[in-house]
């Protein structure tokens, strides 16, 4: 058994070293970054229409910002179309921006604690902005005094 083809004894082979210890992976590998990347492109294309349309209506059409007031908002939000438009724009823009800032924090904040707390602040603010914004769109009352 311990012979080579020509019948000579094989030199002793030392026991292999124990396998190198790898850092224990605490989190399961997911495709989160791929989906985040894809979301930026898909939401971005939708936001081109939603946001540029919004800016055109609010800032340029019929005298622009000068005509905006409570009555103007009440008139627009009487229509489910504009409420849907604004809700979709709010959620997509906030998520798109949050993911963008997450990338910026990951790029520039170096200390683990700084990264963690900046991202916590970001996620809490995103949650508050989406909650408050949707609450206002869903519960808008044109007869409020």
């Amino acid at each position: 058994m311990a012979t080579t083809i020509d019948g000579a004894a094989t030199p002793a082979i030392e026991a292999p070293r124990s396998p190198q210890r790898r850092p224990v992976r605490t989190k399961a590998r997911t495709n989160f970054e791929l989906y985040a990347w894809l979301f930026m492109r898909v939401s971005g294309i939708l936001l081109v229409f939603l946001v540029l349309g919004h800016l055109f209506i609010m800032n340029i059409l019929d005298g622009g910002v000068q005509r905006i007031g409570f009555g103007f908002v009440a008139g627009r939000w009487a229509s489910p179309f504009w409420r849907t438009w604004d809700l979709l724009m709010l959620v997509l823009a906030e998520l798109h921006g949050t993911n963008g800032l997450r990338t910026v924090i990951n790029d520039y904040a170096e200390r683990p604690q700084t990264r963690f707390w900046l991202k916590m602040l970001l996620y809490v603010s995103a949650f508050l902005v989406i909650s408050l914004g949707s609450l206002v769109i869903f519960t808008f009352d044109p007869n409020i005094s």
Binding site: R41, N59, I68, V73, E94, G100, G133, L135, D141
Partner: protein
């Protein structure tokens, strides 16, 4: 300076500077969005508080800032389309530079009349006889 490795268009020249501008405009727009959701939320408080805060948007100085905001959003939107084309169109990376110059031309074509209409009222109020 080390030479840029093959296969990236994000180091140096147009590829990098458009990336820088995309990042800066993106962060600016994000912070404006935060303020804008808060000011719009005042419609749920009272018509007068909403109208009071909206009056700041009609101030000449803030009006000028709005032009800057629209210009930033427009750049971010056009450059975003360019990024999508670079990532998904097979010839996108090859034409990224030409697409950037096309984008800048489009941006100027849209920003010039946009600025005119956005500042029309402010200029007329400050220097003319409009209400």
């Amino acid at each position: 300076m080390p030479k840029a490795p093959a296969g990236t268009l994000y180091r140096g020249r147009e590829g990098m500077w458009s990336w820088v501008a995309h990042r800066i405009t993106g962060v600016l727009i994000f912070f404006f969005l935060f303020a804008h959701v808060l000011d719009t939320a005042l419609v749920r408080v009272s018509p007068s508080s909403y109208d009071t805060v909206i009056a700041t948007y009609k101030n000449p100085v803030v009006n000028l800032l709005e032009v800057g905001l629209v210009a930033a959003v427009l750049f971010h939107a056009l450059n975003g389309i360019r990024i999508v084309l670079i990532d998904f169109w097979a010839s996108g990376p090859r034409f990224q530079r030409q697409m950037l110059y096309t984008e800048i031309v489009l941006w100027v074509i849209l920003v010039v009349p946009g600025t005119f209409y956005m500042l029309k009222h402010t200029v007329e109020t400050l220097f003319g006889s409009a209400s």
